[in-house]
Amino acid sequence: MFLQQCLNGVILGSIYALIAIGYNLVLGILNMLNLAHGEVFMMGAFVGLSFALWKMPLWAVFPTAMLFAGLLGILVERTCFAPLRKAHLLAPLVSTIALGTVLQNTATNIWGSYARVFPRDYLTGTTFNLGPLVISTTQIAILVIALLLMVGVHAFIHRTKVGLAMRAVAEDSDNSSLMGVNNKTIIVWTFFVSSALAGAAGVLVFMVFGQLSPFTGGKLGLLAMVAMVIGGMGSMKGAMVGGLLLGVVQVMNSAYFMGSMTDIILFGVMLLFILLKPQGLFGN
């Protein structure tokens, strides 16, 4: 039973990790929080859900949701970051809050404010017994996909030209432009990748929970921020570890301790980190 909950925690945690990675990508390159991230994640999830309801197979739903979310991310960059480069430091932050509100309200109008339930028959899964664990194909799929995505992002950042350029800009945007990197393009790419990841995470969410509401984005987005703080702002490794930790802690707490106090404890931990160890576990 304990192991079962661990598994659930890891599954949830990998979703948080994906969202947190997205926050960190933007943070690393622009030193700013994209507070519309949660809503982009939510919209990606809903688009994926819609296509799934129209009988699109799962392997196609993912790229579709990711593409849509990625494009939405570019929209965020074009409206909230690019034009505000010279404005007040907090201006993009506020703009993303505003855009997030637009997205959430739009989603509520399109899909209703109540949770949409995922069709039962979409994911036919058999379950396996792995020792004391019971694991379904769905869960395996989620873990595999999440892992692939994380490995993919890591490879993208460390192996491809665009990825290397992203790291260059994140580390030193003055010198990188001198070295011929087009900062603006790289920034757009960063948002695309960050949001595409969020879109994928969105699809994973309705695979895990079986339901989705326009407010899920806000909720999970906030919790992913907790993961980001704990793991360390700007650190990929931190996002993954922080996300996994968060997922496990959340599930364990709900299952064994004071379930209702879970959120309080999680945000309390985040506050403790900010107060005592703001750089998190792996940040600078």
């Binding site: 943070l27 929080l33 430091l89 506020v94 637009v102 109008n109 309080i264 945000f267 107060l275």
Partner: protein
């Protein structure tokens, strides 16, 4: 007696406008030192619940309960404020965000104060009382803005580092701003609770904190009048745009995104009111000074 000038409906709008003005001022006060507090609904919640508890369970007089509730909010503000201030603006956002969520969740599970069922029974709030507090807060912030201390706030907002090099105790000023903002939000919470007589945790969630930010930035983040204008617009507009009730938030959001691009400081900017009313901009007026 006399004819009623304002019907029940209008009074309710006025009441909510007053509360929104207070909330806007609470964000403004903190924003005046360049800190974005995304958790003022949390301070509001503390004020609401504590003051309600005092009047309903302990039979306190309303005034006292309001103030104690607000002071409790200040305590929370100081606890959050002090450590976050050493860090950059993003941490203030994260800390206030986390704090707001914590507070909401706390009241959601704390059964003695109703938990998810909410808390009923706080009465006595009137439109008059609300605007009494609005007047006090506006007066206070206005006087502060015109004083030397107000100039210190401006300097901190313009360039924190340089402000330090001319001897301004920046950390104290920023904590002070937090205290003012949390107090006003706490008062707003208490007044709200005693006006609507029923409060529940969803009233104080992140979306509400967000909305306050939206309308303060819309009205103008540089002056207290901007916060008031934003609150007024936000309260009245829904009534005017009844037909698009469902898209109201999207409308605000879209307007704000547009404003951030076109006129980032908001509708009312720092020198605007002086220009419009053609007064000389002086922090301290002297007798006999030639203009």
């Amino acid at each position: 007696m006399g004819r009623k000038l304002l019907g029940y409906y209008e009074l309710t709008i006025l009441a909510f406008m007053g509360i929104n003005i207070l909330l806007g001022l609470s964000v403004y006060a903190i924003l005046a030192t360049n800190q974005l507090s995304v958790g003022n609904a949390g301070f509001m919640a503390i004020g609401a619940y504590i003051s309600s508890f005092l009047t309903v369970q302990l039979n306190w007089p309303l005034e006292g309960a309001l103030i104690v509730g607000a002071l409790a909010a200040v305590l929370a503000g100081v606890v959050i404020g002090i450590p976050s201030l050493r860090l950059s603006g993003i941490y203030v956002v994260l800390a206030t965000l986390g704090f707001g969520e914590m507070i909401r969740n706390f009241f959601n599970v704390y059964e003695p104060l109703g938990g998810p069922q909410g808390f009923r029974g706080a009465i006595g709030g009137t439109v008059g009382l609300i605007y009494f507090w609005v007047a006090i807060c506006v007066l206070f912030l206005w006087l502060l803005g015109r004083s030397r201390l107000g100039l210190s706030f401006d300097a901190v907002k313009d360039d924190e580092l340089v402000a330090r090099t001319i001897g301004l105790p920046v950390t104290k000023i920023k904590v002070g701003a937090f205290m003012i903002g949390s107090f006003i939000a706490g008062i707003a919470g208490g007044l709200y609770a005693h006006y609507v007589s029923y409060i529940e945790p969803p009233n104080f969630d992140f979306v509400h904190s967000t909305i306050i930010i939206l309308f303060v930035l819309l009205g103008g983040m540089e002056t207290l009048w901007g916060a008031i204008l934003g609150a007024a617009i936000f309260t009245i507009l829904p009534e005017v745009t009844r037909f698009m009730k469902e898209w109201r938030l999207a409308l605000y959001g879209a307007i704000l995104v547009a404003i951030m691009i076109l006129r980032p400081a908001g509708i009312i900017r720092k020198g605007d009111l002086k220009k419009w009313f053609r007064r000389k901009e002086t922090p301290v007026r002297l007798q006999g000074e030639k203009t």
